[in-house]
Subunit: 274 residues, 2 copies
């Protein structure tokens, strides 16, 4: 989630951004405000967005079904629709802070709305994001090193291949959080109880098992420092469908810009199974 | 799940059926043995099967995504394929005890294999079944009244509409289990921990809330007697996609026969989030 250079985290820009309602956040983004949304409208579910032409929608939905830990689908629109059951009155073309437009797997544009690029055949997938389990980990006392250090979470492309679906294929992307050993059980328990937003970790410990050679050089996001006893814990990451777009090169796609998520009306707790 | 008259429950026919391996069960079914599979190959996940032509597959997959509690998808095949990652060496055309063949929403055949009816464009959905959470409830001490009474679980068509997807629409079907009040918390907790197989109940108590007028007259399965203090507890049911086929009338579909499920190699515990 490399930041678009002109965008500063919204919670830094406005100390009250955590208390915005989802509707207020979306309305600001609609008027052109942009920036990473970590901590914005705290307690409300933020999601990854990916829109593909209808003739790619089955492959995308099947890819998500076959790789559910990385791609937990929370809503799918009908073709051309820019509304979602997750956010009353929202317009998916304007209500994210910033978008990325992809042509044949190449990033061509990073606009603050996509009204001009919208197509009647676009099907939009809203996919769970690890922001939703961080509140649960924090609530259980697990320190969030990247937040302590004022950084974005570290993300890595692994050597694990996703199970392909039609024309879509690609590597699994993971996010990593350093966890002190005494908090490992809580981190695993709390994330396991949120299966709709990545669930339990895919790996704890030695990064090379996933094909990650150097934790200090993430493929997306920022490097995060580990305390001496910290165990690196890896969760499947919602950037995985973007990696599939980059690898599989559909003719056209729109995604959110990294870290600049769609803020829904849904409460994070709703996804906890107990 | 009204029984096909000639088929007796396999655990009644053979007192050792609970100890069959999944491979042995499938091989017997391949050779023509049929009957309800409750209790067969105990501990291994049994699933609902529904095969539709490829041009209906997106609607079916989206219907399942939009109605996940009723239709938790555990695997989807590629078009024409009769193998699944859930069962090594299995043939989906022959390895279920009995099938139902549907044309334009009407039941036309109940054969023990569908080799003659198979088509290269069929996409098969394997969908979680409440058999998978009954072991967990039993393990937590919750009595299973229908099993005590030697009956199939009661199922009802509700007045709740599923969220439609393309051409597919229909009512939510629920299964009901009578639960003594002192076991209600365990029943809710244990099923909640299995979100991939229907998860938490959709309703506890008054049946009329769901549009059910008479518990003693289920739409599928057998009536089950409630003890005086029992609370009727309702879970979304994997018969829901069959009800959608009956309501939406795709030109062709194949399903399992009621209660005669596909026995996979997967262990039930694997779907428990903790």
């Amino acid at each position: 989630m490399n930041r678009t250079s002109q965008d500063r985290p919204l919670c830094v820009v406005d100390g009250h951004a955590h208390a915005w309602t989802p509707k207020k956040a979306r309305s600001l983004f609609r008027s052109g405000v942009s920036g990473p949304t970590a901590g914005v409208a705290a307690g409300h579910t933020q999601v990854n967005l990916i829109s593909v032409p209808a003739d790619w929608a089955y492959d995308m939905l099947l890819f998500c079904q076959r790789n559910q830990k990385a791609c937990p689908v929370l809503d799918v629109t009908d073709a051309g629709a820019w509304t979602s059951v997750l956010a009353d009155g929202a317009d998916l073309r304007t209500d994210l802070p910033r978008y990325r437009v992809w042509e044949h797997g190449e990033l061509v544009q990073e606009p603050t709305d996509v009204v001009d690029r919208w197509r009647d055949d676009l099907v939009t997938f809203l996919i769970g994001c690890s922001f939703t389990f961080e509140w649960a980990l924090t609530g259980a006392g697990v320190p969030m090193r990247h937040i302590e250090q004022g950084r974005n979470v570290s993300m890595y492309v692994t050597r694990r291949r996703c199970r392909p679906a039609g024309r879509l294929h690609g590597p699994m992307v993971v996010s990593m959080r350093p966890v002190p050993p005494e908090h490992l059980a809580a981190a695993i328990r709390e994330s396991s109880l949120l299966p709709a937003v990545h669930g339990s970790p895919v790996h704890c410990g030695e990064p090379s098992v996933l094909g990650i050679e150097d934790l200090s050089r993430p493929d997306f996001g920022d490097p995060v420092d580990l305390a001496p006893d910290d165990i690196p814990v890896f969760w499947a990451c919602g950037v995985t469908p973007q990696a599939a777009v980059m690898a599989s090169r559909p003719p056209f796609a729109i995604t959110h810009a990294p870290g600049q998520m769609f803020v829904t009306d849904t409460r994070d707790e709703q996804y906890r199974v107990l």
